[in-house]
């Protein structure tokens, strides 16, 4: 491209910040730019502000919340929400452990299962290609519905009250398989695979030694999709977890939102009476502190991983 339009290239190199004359001419006017900036600023703030409010609440003292309600600036600053959670570390740490375990195990398993299928489907001339394509495509169009799925998972497969219930149902999605297939088809050169085959490599060797290492972008994309969906999942817990010992952070927050006494109930086992505990504990701040614990890793991580998400989202829109 640069060769075709050498003039433009030079200008870009000279003044990186200022676009060249034509680009300056062919864009919205200054006032329009200001208006657009204001609109987007408001929209961006609308997306950020609720989180800021929750962070502020989590750092407020309980008596100030009780008296003045929720505010952006804590009337009395306090860490008691967090210290309370630390004092309840058994419950919080366990929930955090469940969340981490499920996220890591699910992501690893999901990436393996998805890429395997994606690779096999990307092979031209494979005998069962048509059959397996149907296996992947039919669930995109039709599914058994919640009731049937629930009974199969809980009764037939016996996943109820096990961590498998949080991991297995979410680990493969046809959407991800199609992303993988498209990626392998378009970026892994056929000649590379053929030459490996000539050297006597088995398909497994080709997959693990050749295809995987050169497919890191798609692994990152799928891995991130899975990672976020596992970390954010509360629905599976709501369906299959009756045992509050196996609650993830999201499930714990869900339970606490509906019933703040959950926190007190757990605290009560530590010697204090439940009623006494409920009166004493920083309910509001503690609840919002859990939200902060859930959101903080996401908020810190996603700006850096955005581009992988975007590449995945756009690849998915291209059919293979």
């Amino acid at each position: 491209m640069g060769r075709q339009r050498p003039g433009q290239g030079q200008i870009r190199i000279k003044g990186k910040k200022e676009p060249d004359g034509f680009e300056r001419f062919n864009r919205v006017s200054k006032p329009a730019n200001v208006v657009l900036n204001i609109v987007f600023f408001i929209m961006a703030m609308a997306c950020i502000i609720p989180v800021v409010l929750v962070v502020a609440i989590s750092f407020s003292a309980e008596e100030s919340i009780q008296e003045y309600g929720y505010h952006f600036i804590p009337k009395i600053f306090s860490l008691e929400g967090y210290t309370f959670l630390v004092s309840q570390s058994k419950m919080i740490v366990r929930a955090l452990g469940v969340s981490l375990l499920v996220t890591i195990a699910g992501t690893v398993l999901g990436v393996i299962l998805t890429t395997l299928m994606g690779y096999v489907l990307s092979r031209p001339g494979y005998k069962l290609n048509g059959f397996l394509t149907m296996v992947v495509f039919i669930p995109m169009v039709f599914n058994g519905g919640l009731v049937s799925t629930y009974f199969v998972n809980s009764q037939l497969l016996g996943l109820k009250n096990t961590l498998w219930a949080l991991i297995l149902p979410l680990c493969v999605s046809s959407f991800n398989v199609v992303i993988c297939r498209t990626f392998f088809k378009s970026t892994v050169p056929e000649s590379l695979i053929e030459s490996a085959k000539m050297d006597g490599a088995s398909q497994f060797t080709i997959f693990s030694r050749i295809v995987m290492p050169i497919s890191l972008p798609v692994l990152a994309t799928i891995g991130l999709f899975l990672c976020f969906s596992y970390w954010n999942d509360w629905y599976q817990s709501m369906l299959y977890m009756e045992d509050s010992k196996l609650y993830s952070l999201q499930a714990l927050l869900n339970a606490i939102l509906t019933n703040i006494q959950m926190l007190a109930k757990n605290a009560a086992t530590m010697g204090l009476g439940a009623a006494e505990m409920l009166a004493k504990m920083p309910q509001e701040a503690a609840r919002m502190a859990i939200v902060v614990i859930i959101v903080a890793p996401i908020a810190c991580a996603y700006p850096f991983f955005q581009k992988y998400f975007i590449s995945g989202l756009t690849v998915g829109a291209v059919k293979g």
Partner: protein, 327 residues
């Protein structure tokens, strides 16, 4: 299997691409290995997708839990379409289907118009740095779970401590029971859906826009086209495919709703029953509280209608623009 045979097979496969139609290639080592590689995922699909598909027939049974699943399945009595009769005898089901469809229609329209407009507009900003900042900020809600969003909404709408009520009070107005006001929830749920989805949609469309060759705009600009004309005659036509894709994907799911949005965000409030109940919420509540019969019947209708809509939408798109069709 010796090396020689394998090489021959490979050679055959390379040539095989050009072989005349109808002549079947024989099963070779490659096929065996690929089948083994695909086996774990195929088993997963069988257990978690296909078994439930057959399990859908419990909508025609009086399903009672009686030991293990298969035993309950066999011992449950066939009741024909009784479950459906009961379901449609309640007046709730019509209200629920109406809710599901009307919310989805609004979501589909706004879910395309707003992000497309936002993507086009954000691309016009002079400062690319600010553009990146806005985009990142607006993408964030997409990464929050509905449970977290529920907590955020609660911080604004709670009766005794909520920020909104605090503001109303400081302006000399009365506190409101937001969770008991059915009339404010439909617009609010539409807003929340947009709030969570605009950043995501914008990113998808923006990726398409940045993929458009800049020289089109330069040529149009030199010919004196205004920004509006450039958007109308270059950007929008080139975004057609991705917009149609998103459209069919959403229309295909018109009988499905975001369970978290309709169940969690209104905190399962009884006063909001009429305006927030969608098929997913209904199926879940029935499954939890009472007989499985009606729940299974509703789930059956949802699956079947969903299948029909997605295939129809896809068929229509094939007629209009073959390239954009999903299947």
């Amino acid at each position: 299997m010796s090396h020689e045979v394998d090489k021959a097979a490979v050679k055959k496969e390379i040539i095989g691409n050009k072989r005349p139609k109808g002549k079947k290639r024989r099963w070779n080592r490659d096929d065996t290995e690929l089948t083994l590689l695909a086996l774990p995922t195929t088993i997963w699909y069988f257990l978690f997708c296909f078994v439930p598909m057959f399990g859908i027939v419990i909508a025609f049974k009086e399903f009672r839990i009686n030991g293990r699943f298969l035993k309950s399945f066999w011992t449950s009595e066939w009741v024909g379409v009784n479950n459906f009769k009961f379901l449609f005898a309640t007046k709730d089901i019509w209200m629920i289907i109406k809710n599901t469809l009307s919310y989805n229609i609004v979501f589909i329209i706004l879910g395309i118009v707003v992000p497309v407009a936002a993507a086009i507009a954000i691309g016009q900003l002079h400062s690319k740095k600010l553009m990146k900042v806005y985009q990142t900020a607006m993408f964030m809600p997409y990464f929050l779970s509905w449970v977290v969003v529920t907590a955020l909404v609660w911080a604004f709408l709670s009766f005794d401590k909520g920020l909104l009520n605090n503001l109303l009070e400081s302006w000399g107005m009365d506190r409101q029971q937001w969770y008991m006001k059915p009339q404010m929830w439909p617009p609010f749920l539409v807003f929340m859906n947009l709030w969570k989805g605009v950043g995501y949609g914008m990113v998808v469309y923006l990726a398409t826009i940045t993929g458009i060759d800049k020289t089109y705009y330069e040529a149009a600009g030199i010919d004196g086209a205004t920004i509006w004309q450039q958007v109308r005659y270059i950007t929008l036509p080139l975004m057609k495919t991705v917009i149609i894709m998103m459209f069919i994907m959403n229309v295909g799911r018109i009988f499905y709703s975001d369970f978290g949005l309709f169940y969690q965000v209104p905190r399962d409030s009884n006063s909001l029953y009429d305006v927030v109940y969608t098929l997913d919420v209904y199926v879940y509540k029935q499954l939890r509280t009472s007989t499985t019969g009606m729940s299974a019947a509703a789930a059956f209708i949802q699956s079947l209608a969903g299948c029909v809509t997605i295939l129809t939408a896809n068929w229509v798109v094939r007629k209009v623009d073959r390239e954009s069709a999903m299947i």
